[in-house]
Amino acid sequence: MSKIAIIGAGPAGIESASMLARSHEVLLFEKSSTALSNILDKAYLFPDFSSATDIADSLNSKLINENIKLMLNTEVVDIVRNDSEWKIVDKSGKNYFVDAVLITTGYQTFDATRKEELGYGIYKGVVTSIDMERMIKYNQIVNSINESPKRVVFLQCVGSRDEKSGNRYCSKVCCVTAVKQAIEVRKMLPDAEIYIFYMDLRMWGQHFEELYRESQEKYDIRYVRGRISEASSTFDRKIQIKAEDTLLGVPLKMTTDLLVLMVGMEASAGTKSLGCKCGIEGEYGFIKTATPHLCDNETSEKGLFVAGSCKRPMTINDVINDARSAACLISEYLR
């Protein structure tokens, strides 16, 4: 029976572990104290509003398997090839020897305080999409003075498609997430005015375009094409924003109770450091796969595989599919 190390217990790590555990022994490393923390941050998932908790629960149930050894609070700091074996070193200095390694260290969200002009961390009325997800989850959508907001504004592309934050790429999931969150806000606050400021709405996935249409048809979500250049506070603790309505070619300003910054996805700290250590670091700290089309789960190192959002921004269903394909390739490799 071969031994496989999987680093990161997110959806990619758990899904591939459960598949590989049918005929192999899996060591699943997780540096934090819980698995699936990125999913558990969410309330509902696009495009069908499935409960994030339910999805986390079904993924977690796959861990009940005698061939999977989940090690929480165990941060992997180095991966070294040892002839045909791999040596995994954890933070406490303990070594583990395995036949193949799968990196599933995932993403982290963009730190919105880096865009100082948008006021996150300065004004209470400015929140991120992650904060908003929590507000939706606990049914507590409030402005800076803990009142129910009369107006909510979403701003796309915070920390994505932005040279100034060093991220040229599109984070892929924020467009539809804003539409999803706007609909959820509408359901909770039937009288609020809800705006989405966008540059391009990239409704690339199945049902995304339909959700966008539904948001206009049923939920009265209003769209303004323009990037908010700055946010400031008014005397009554509202947020004043400035943008251009680029379709009219006229500058626009408005006050809002809540400004929601749709933060993009970046390579997680673990992705960056392991990518660097193994010499497979790609653009923006994400991991570089062997080739983009046919060898997207392999790396330049034999026996070292990758799956999920440590490669690039991905949706959960993309991650699950990617994890399954990595599991197939690893089984093949170990045969």
């Binding site: 592309c157 323009g226 908010i228 250049s229 700055e230």
Partner: protein, 111 residues
């Protein structure tokens, strides 16, 4: 020929077949980042001149890209070259430099 009392009005559409792009070509050479704009409008939103006039730098840029030069030189006079547009641009278009060069190129063209 008999006159019927009406004339054919000029078309409003931009005829890209007829446009002289020499100004744009010159500008692209001077400011290589000029072409990467995604029209987000952050420059116009943050612009100081915009608050006191109908100056719209994104629109001017778009007009120039389509070879529509009429009235642009006069519009560009409204800019105070404060450079906030360049600071806020997510694509790192060197707008301030573009404006200086647009002025130079358009003055030469209008001579």
């Amino acid at each position: 020929m008999r006159k019927f009392g009406f004339s054919i009005s000029q078309t409003r559409s931009i005829d890209l077949d007829q446009i002289d792009f020499s100004c744009l070509d010159e500008l692209r050479e001077a400011v290589p980042t000029f072409m990467v704009c995604i029209n987000c409008g952050a420059c116009t939103a943050t612009c100081s001149a915009q608050q006191f006039s109908d100056f719209n730098i994104r629109k001017i840029k778009t007009m120039l890209m389509q070879g529509q030069y009429e009235g642009l030189a006069k519009q560009l006079d409204k800019c105070m070259l404060c450079g906030k547009c360049t600071l806020v641009c997510p694509r790192e278009v060197n707008l301030r430099n573009s404006i200086v060069n647009m002025r130079r190129i358009l003055t030469k063209k209008n001579k």
